[in-house]
C-alpha cells in the first residue's frame, strides 16, 4: 500500500462528525480533498473506445475543458434517460426525504460528509431535474428545491458520484426501494457524455475491449499465467493438472475475473478452481478472448456494459460449449445475473446447465445459462462428489464478507456459506447488521479502488473493517473470505489499516486446501505455502 507523505492514522480518521454544518447544502462550496477523489480518464483510452471529449485534464484543474455545449448535452442526456429508465424517472419523483437512508452509506459513516447521505447524493441530481424538468422547479427555483446546472454542479457530481460504490445498501432501507446505484449510474453516464470519467474505470474498460481483460493481458501471456498456476497446483498436490485454453467442443466455458490469474490473494482461489476441476474431471475450457468476467463498463454506462459483456456469449457460441460457469466475483455477477441475458441474449445456442458430475439441472440459470462456481461447488459437496478434509484449514479462523452485488442483486447468501462450512472448521459470522443484505461495501467498489483515492477507501471501508475487528477480537478471526475480485484486491490494505493480523482470501482457496485429490502427496503447507496446523504441531513436538 502506498501511503502519502503524511500517513493516515486510524485514530484521526475515526474523528468523524455526523452533524452537518448550519449552512444549507446548496451553499456549501465543493472541497475536493486530496486522497478522496480519482484521477481523470486517460485520453488514449477514451479515444480507443470512441468516447466523447478525450483530453488532458485533472479534477483539480480550474478549467475542465468541457465541450462548449456541455449544458445542452447534459440536459439532453437527462431527458433521454428519463424516457428510457423508469427507475430514474420514478426515483427523481418519489423521495420524501424521510432520512432512513442517511446513515446507511459506508461513505457517510466513514466520513460524516452530509453529501454522502444517499438522499443528498440523489438530491445533487434531483435538484437539477426539478429545475429543468418540473413545473414547480421552473417556477419557484430554489424554493422548490431546484438549482441551476453550472460547472460547479458538474464538479460536485464528479466528486460525489465517484464516491458512491453502487453497493445498493441504501435501497434495502428505503421505503420505496429508491436505489442510489441507479442514480449514480445515470449520473456517471451523463458525466461520461462530456468526458468526465475516471481512469480507474476507463483504462480497464479500454484494455478489456482490446485484449479481452481489464489488465490488458494478451493471449500468449494469458496462457502463460494459467499454465504457471497449473504447474504450481501440480507441485502442491503432486497431481498433474493440465487446463485447456480456447478449446472447441469443451462442455463448459469457464469465465472468471482477470485478477484471479494476476492478483494476490486471488491467485490462491485460481489454484482452487484448477484443482477442483481436475479432480472431478470437468470437460471445460478457458478462453483468452473472454478472459474477463468482470465488467468495468458497468461503472461507465449501460452501453459500455453491453460492449464488454458481448464477448462471453460470442465466445461460448464460437467454442460450441453447452453452458458457462463463472468464478468468484461481485459486480461480474450483478452483470451476469441482472444484465447479460437482456443485453446480449437470448443464449438459445446454449443448453440449460446440467452438472456433468451430479446431474443437477440448474433451473435458476435456465435462460442465462451461466452458473456461479459456489452454486456448482455446493451442489458437488451436497452430493458427496468430492472428498474434503476441513482440518487442513484449521490454521484459519474464518469469517465471510458478503460482497454487495451477489448479496443485494442476487440474494446469494447460503451457497457460499454452505461451501465454507464444509471446507473449514472455524467459521464465525460478523454482527448481523453488517452481513447478508445489510452487508457493507469494501469501500472501493465500482472502480474506486485506486491509490490516489486511498483516504476515501479507508473511510468507506470503515464499517466493514470495524465488523471484522469485532470478530477478530472476539473469536481470533484471521481470515476474511469473500467472493469478489475487487474485495480481494482492496480488503488487504483495508485490513492492514484497520485490523492488522487479518488476511483476505477466496472461498475456493479454502476448497483448494481441503480438497483431497486422488493420488495426491501429503500436504504439509497450504496453497500459500503456510504450514498446516497439524504439520506445525508435529514439528513442535520434535
Amino acid at each position: 500500500m502506498t501511503m502519502s507523505e503524511k500517513a493516515l492514522r486510524p485514530e484521526e480518521v475515526l474523528r468523524i462528525e455526523y452533524t452537518p454544518p448550519r449552512k444549507g447544502w446548496m451553499d456549501q462550496p465543493l472541497h475536493m480533498k486530496k486522497g478522496t477523489f480519482c484521477y481523470s480518464g486517460g485520453a488514449k483510452y477514451l479515444e480507443y473506445l470512441g468516447l466523447p471529449n478525450p483530453r488532458e485534464w485533472q479534477p483539480t484543474d480550474e478549467d475542465w475543458k468541457l465541450p462548449k455545449n456541455w449544458k445542452e448535452i447534459i440536459l439532453e442526456g437527462m431527458k433521454d434517460r428519463l424516457g428510457k429508465f423508469r427507475s430514474f424517472k420514478l426515483f427523481m419523483d418519489i423521495c420524501v426525504r424521510c432520512g432512513a437512508c442517511a446513515d446507511k452509506c459506508h461513505f457517510f459513516i466513514g466520513s460524516g460528509d452530509p453529501k454522502n447521505m444517499p438522499v443528498l447524493r440523489a438530491e445533487l441530481l434531483r435538484s437539477v431535474y426539478r429545475r429543468y424538468f418540473t413545473t414547480a422547479g421552473r417556477l419557484f427555483g430554489r424554493l422548490a428545491g431546484a438549482r441551476d446546472l453550472t460547472e460547479e454542479v458538474i464538479k460536485e457530481w464528479f466528486y460525489y458520484f465517484y464516491q458512491c460504490t453502487e453497493c445498493r445498501r441504501c435501497s434495502v432501507y428505503c421505503p420505496y426501494g429508491i436505489d442510489t446505484c441507479e442514480i449514480t449510474m445515470m449520473a456517471r453516464e451523463l458525466l461520461n457524455l462530456i468526458g468526465c470519467n475516471i481512469n480507474w474505470v476507463i483504462e480497464p474498460a479500454g484494455k478489456c475491449f482490446r485484449t479481452g481483460n481489464h489488465l490488458g493481458i494478451e493471449p500468449h501471456a494469458f496462457k502463460d499465467s494459467i499454465e504457471f498456476a497449473a504447474d504450481e497446483a501440480s507441485e502442491i498436490t503432486g497431481v498433474k493438472i493440465e487446463p485447456s485454453i480456447n478449446r472447441k467442443g469443451a462442455e463448459i466455458l469457464f469465465v472468471t475475473p482477470s485478477a484471479d490469474y494476476f492478483g494476490s490473494p486471488h491467485y490462491y482461489t485460481l489454484l482452487g478452481y484448477l484443482m477442483l476441476f481436475h479432480e472431478i474431471g470437468l470437460d471445460y475450457t478457458w478462453s483468452a478472448y473472454a478472459s474477463e468476467g468482470g465488467n468495468f463498463g458497468l461503472f461507465n454506462s449501460h452501453e459500455m456494459l453491453k460492449r464488454l459483456n458481448a464477448k462471453i456469449y460470442a465466445e461460448a457460441k464460437r467454442l460450441g460449449v453447452k453452458w458457462i460457469l463463472g468464478g468468484e466475483c461481485g459486480h461480474m455477477w450483478r452483470v451476469i445475473h441482472q444484465y447479460m441475458d437482456t443485453l446480449n441474449g437470448p443464449a438459445d445456442f446454449l443448453e440449460v446447465p446440467v452438472s456433468p458430475i451430479t446431474g443437477t439441472r440448474f433451473e435458476n440459470a435456465a435462460s442465462t445459462k451461466m452458473v456461479h462456481i459456489c452454486e456448482f461447488t455446493s451442489d458437488l459437496i451436497k452430493n458427496n462428489k468430492i472428498k474434503l478434509d476441513p482440518s487442513r484449514n484449521d490454521h484459519w479462523r474464518v469469517t465471510f464478507h458478503d460482497s454487495c452485488n451477489p448479496a443485494r442483486a442476487m440474494g446469494f447468501f447460503e451457497e457460499p456459506r454452505f461451501v465454507i462450512k464444509n471446507v473449514c472448521n472455524n467459521f464465525f459470522e460478523m454482527p448481523e447488521n453488517t452481513i447478508r443484505e445489510h452487508t457493507f461495501c469494501c469501500g472501493s467498489g465500482s472502480g474506486l479502488g485506486t491509490d490516489e483515492n486511498l483516504e476515501a477507501r479507508m473511510r468507506g471501508g470503515l464499517p466493514r473493517a470495524n465488523a471484522v475487528k469485532y470478530v477478530h477480537e472476539k473469536h481470533g478471526v484471521n481470515l476474511l473470505t469473500c467472493i469478489c475480485a475487487i474485495d480481494k484486491a482492496t480488503l488487504p490494505p483495508l485490513m492492514e489499516f484497520w485490523v492488522p493480523g487479518v488476511e483476505v482470501g477466496g472461498i475456493h482457496e479454502l476448497v483448494a486446501n481441503a480438497l483431497v485429490m486422488e493420488g495426491e502427496r501429503e500436504r504439509t503447507v497450504d496453497v500459500r505455502g503456510e504450514p498446516l496446523l497439524k504439520a506445525k504441531e508435529g514439528s513442535g513436538n520434535v
Partner: protein, 331 residues
Amino acid sequence: MNLLYSLAGMAVLVLVVSVGVETAGLYRLFGVVLPYAAVAVFVSGIVYRVLKWAAVPVPFHIPTTCGQQKSLPWIKANNLESPYNSLGVVARMALEVLAFRSLFRNTKVDLRSEEQRIVYGNSKYLWLAALAFHYSFLVVLVRHLRFFTEPVPFVIGILQDLDGFFQIGVPTVYLTGVVLAAALAYLLLRRLADPKVRYISLPADYFALLLLLGIALSGILMRYFVKVDIVKVKELVMGLLRFEPSVPAGIGLIFYIHLFLVCALIAYFPFSKLVHMAGVFLSPTRNLTNTSRMRRHVNPWNYPVKVHTYEEWEDEFRDKMKAAGLPVERE
C-alpha cells in the same frame, strides 16, 4: 428557514380562505367550486403521473434482493425478500405498502470513538410514527364517510364506536384524531431536531406536514371546541355529491378553513412528493421477481453496439497466439 417559508405558505392559505369567506362572502367559491376543482385536479393529476411513469420502460431486471435466491432445491429460498414468483412479489409489495417493511429495518449508527467501535442500534420510531400517521389518517378518512353517505353504513358506525372506545369527554374523543395529530407533530419535530434530516429538508417537506397538521387541527377544533352546524355541513356535502350544490348559510369559518386546506392538499398531492403513495407500486427494485437468470427480461430499446469481435481480436494477436501454441481460426 425552509420551515419559515412553509409556515408563510400556510398562513397565506388560512388568510385567503378567511378573507374570502368572512369579508368577501365567497361561499360558493370555497364551498363548491374549489372542492370540485380540487377533486378534478387530484384524479387527473394522479392518473397523469402514473401513466407518465408507466410509459417509461423498465429496461433491466433490477430487484434489490433482501433474502436468499431460489437456486438449488435444498437451499431454502426466501419468497418474501427475494421473490421467485408473482405471489412472492405481491406479498413483498403488500408488506411494503401495508407494513412499511423496509422502514422497519431502520437502524441508527453509533460511533464509539474511544472503543473504536461502530454499533447499529434499533431505530423503530420513524417506522412507528409513519405507520401511526398513515393508518390513523386512513381511519379518519373512512370515518368521514358519514358525511358522504345517507343512510350511514353500519360499519362506519362500528368504526366510530371503536375509535371512541374509551368514551372520554363530550363529544367522545376519537383516538385516531389524537394519534394523527401526535404522529404528525412527531414527524415535524423529528425533521427539526435531527440535524441530518433538517439538513436534507426542503420547504416542500415541511409544507406537506404543516398542511396535514392544519387539516387535523382544524378538524379537531371543529369537533370539540368551535362547533359548527353538522347538519348543514352534511347538507352541503350531499349536495356536492348529487351534483346539486347548494351552500347552507351559517356553517362557520372553521369549516371553510378545514375544507380549503383539504382542497389544497388533494390538489397539491399529484405534483408533490406525496405521490409516493402511487409511485411505490411501480418501484422496479421492489416489484420484480428475482428470477433474472431463469427467465429472460426484454429491454424494448436494446440497440446494437460496437463490439470487438473475435475475428478482430485474433487478427491483432494471431502471430503471438500461434507462437504460444494457441489454436487460431485462420492461419
